[in-house]
Structures are given as C-alpha cells and as structure tokens.
Subunit: 222 residues, 2 copies
C-alpha cells in the first residue's frame, strides 16, 4: 500500500496531498513578485491552519525564519523537488472518449512537468487518429513509445475495461495510475493507484445536501 510505504519514509500521506496546493500558491506569489511568505499567508491561501503548514513543511526539512518567514523561490524549489517536478513525466492516456480527449488537450499539465506521451484506445477505427500532435496507438504498442519509469497511466475507459487496461499498463512497466473509470483495481502492491470518481464525488455532495435540506434524516441516524 502506498500510504504505508510513505509513512515508513517519514512523510504522511496527508502532507503529500497538500504539497501541490502549496506549490500552486507559491507559484502565484512568485508571479506577483512576492519574495517571502509566512505560514499564516500560506495557510489562508490553501485553507488549512498555519500550524499545519509549519508541520507539513517541517516534514520536508524546511523551516521558516522567525520574523522573516519562508523564501518563496527556495520553498517552491524544495517542494517541486519533493514532488518529482524537477524531472519530466510522461502521461499515457488510455480510452479516447470525451474525457480522454479533454485530458489530452488540457493546457495545464505541461507547465507542471507533465507531457502527454501516448494516447491509447482499443478501437481500430480510432487507432491512427491524431489528437493534437499525438497519434492514438493500441495499448499493445505502448511499450515501444514510452519510458515506463517516468510514465503515469491515466485510465479514461468505461468501468468494465479498467482492470484489463490497468494490467496492461503494469505489464508495460508503469507503476503510477490515475483511474477515472470507477471501481477498485486489483494490482500488485507496488503499483500506486489514485482514483478520480466523479460520480462518487457527486454522491458524497448529494449525501451532505440531502441532510441539509432534510435534517430529520440526520436525526434519525443512530
């Protein structure tokens, strides 16, 4: 399990999950010419308590200077290094439906070091088509076009195809997978899967909304 793995390595998963937000805020500060910041400012921008910011950053061995705070450029670089942003990552998107094409054309990845390296589909009518500058290939041709060590797989297929696609990605040497397809994947322990399940997110919002508009439901619960 990746979470266990990380805890053993000393950085709690919850801290890792907040690093991209710190990096984004620091990037915006740098763009405005801001040179130093405080844990209070970072906390407000990210939406956590400042004590948590200080603890998170101390996990990376980074401490603010009393009365001075954090150096924006240095802290950005530290977090970027921790997040592996100092190298380029190749994205492999499997499933060229609307969502796969939307992600393939997403402009916000390149600036964060993510390059769309391969687009895959199993439909012969789609293989060979171009999306932007990338030609869609079959999943079996994947290992010819990518360096698996620095690749991240993104599954945008229908749910029923996800397990098979994930196994093919793992067989091609990929160990990091973002799964939009819904459903649990059964994969080797060293494979790191992050699910993005839009329907589940909606159901969680609906749960809260339901209880907001029908408070009696909440009171009836044990």
């Amino acid at each position: 399990m990746p979470a266990t793995d990380l805890r053993r390595r000393g950085v709690p998963e919850a801290t890792v999950a907040r690093l991209p937000a710190y990096l984004r805020v620091l990037g915006a500060m740098a763009a405005r010419g801001v040179r130093s910041t405080s844990s209070d400012e970072l906390a407000t921008a990210v939406g956590v308590h400042s004590a948590k910011v200080r603890k998170d950053l101390s996990q990376l061995g980074t401490y603010g200077v009393r009365g001075v705070g954090y150096d924006v450029a240095h802290l950005s670089m530290e977090i970027a290094r921790e997040l592996g942003m100092t190298r380029d990552w190749s994205l492999v998107i499997v499933g060229m439906g609307n969502l796969g094409r939307a992600l393939a054309g997403h402009g916000g990845f390149a600036s964060r070091g993510f390059r769309v390296a391969a687009l895959c589909d199993n439909d012969p009518a789609v293989i060979g088509q171009r999306v932007g500058e990338t030609t869609i290939v079959s999943l079996s041709a994947l290992s010819d076009v990518i360096d698996a060590e620095s690749a991240i797989g993104i599954i945008t297929t229908p749910p029923h195809a996800a397990q098979q696609v994930a196994e093919a990605l793992v067989a091609a040497g990929i160990r990091s997978i973002l799964n939009f397809a819904g459903g649990a994947l059964t994969l080797p322990e060293d494979v790191d899967v992050r699910p993005v399940d839009v329907a589940s997110e909606l159901q969680i919002l609906a749960f809260h909304n339901q209880r907001r508009i029908q408070p009696d439901l909440a009171r009836a619960a044990p």
Copy 2:
C-alpha cells in the same frame, strides 16, 4: 465545514466517502442475481478490511445477520437513501471547454440520479449552442432554469474564473459544488465544495514514483 457538520451528525466523513463504492458493488451483485453478501465479500470488492465494512454499515444502523450476511437489495436501498439517491439531483456545469463538454456527455450520471439540468458559459459565441439536448446559457440566467435546492454545481472553467463562478452559483442558491478548476475557493461555511484537481493528483503520483525510482531521496528526508 462539512466534515465537522457530518461528524456532529454521527457519520464520519471517511464512511460517507466509501458509501458510493459499496453501492456500486451492491449494484453489480444485484445485476448478477446475488441476493445476500458478507462483509468479507464487500471488503474484497471495495478494497478495505471487513471490520471497516461492518463499522461503516453499522454507522447507518445496518447490521449483517450472523451466518446470513447482508441482504443486497435492502442494503442498496439503505445506502441509496443515505446518499440522497432516492431523489433526482440537477447538475449545473459551468465552463463549456473540453472537460465541461465531456462531463455533459457522460453516460454514467443518469443511472445514479444525476441529470444535467443546465450548461453555462460566459462566452457569447458559445451561449445558445446545444450540447446533446441542453442549450448553453449564461450564468446570470441560471436561476431561471434550476431548482437550486436539489442542484449541484460543477466548475470546469480555467482556474482564474473559479472564485467568481462559485460565488454566482452560491448566489443562485446552490450549496454543493464540485470544483475541477484547481485552487481554494472562499465561500460561506454552509457551502460544501469538493475539489477534483487532476494536476495535483498527478503530482502526488509523481511524488511516490520519484521516491520509488530514487530511494536516496526518501532516506535523505528528515
């Protein structure tokens, strides 16, 4: 804060987050004609320990019968009711770029009670266009087309527009927002925002991958 709100009402946020997965697995079982199931089976399908399944379901006041397990149909109905799936929810998608259009055309929402009720954009060239059977309107026309109480807003605009769009959704009476735009939103406390930040998810995967291929980084950390 929604998390605090829910804890006060007795169902931990982590349990709520797993309910959609249980519901999906139960739906698949029902489709195969399976009538009863065990916490072990549910645990395997969802990818958690069976003790956690029993605890989660007991939070809803649902207990398995020893030697018999859980009734699939009854448990599905209980979870669906908790998740507010027994009423229809209207989706309002704001930002008709690739991602907004992909979500508007997503086939998996209707079966879970989510209906695309409105599509919004601020580009006059786009307003009036149809996506499927829905005509794109301006955000200011939103309150005419939806019942805000049962609506969920989905923000698929560029990041810089997200705060303004979120405020407009809240002004229209919407209290549940799924935010794909990245960045923290500053909104009233009773508004429930769930972020879906694909670039951050990729950065978290990159963090793990980086440490997998360069274990010295992990050892150097404090």
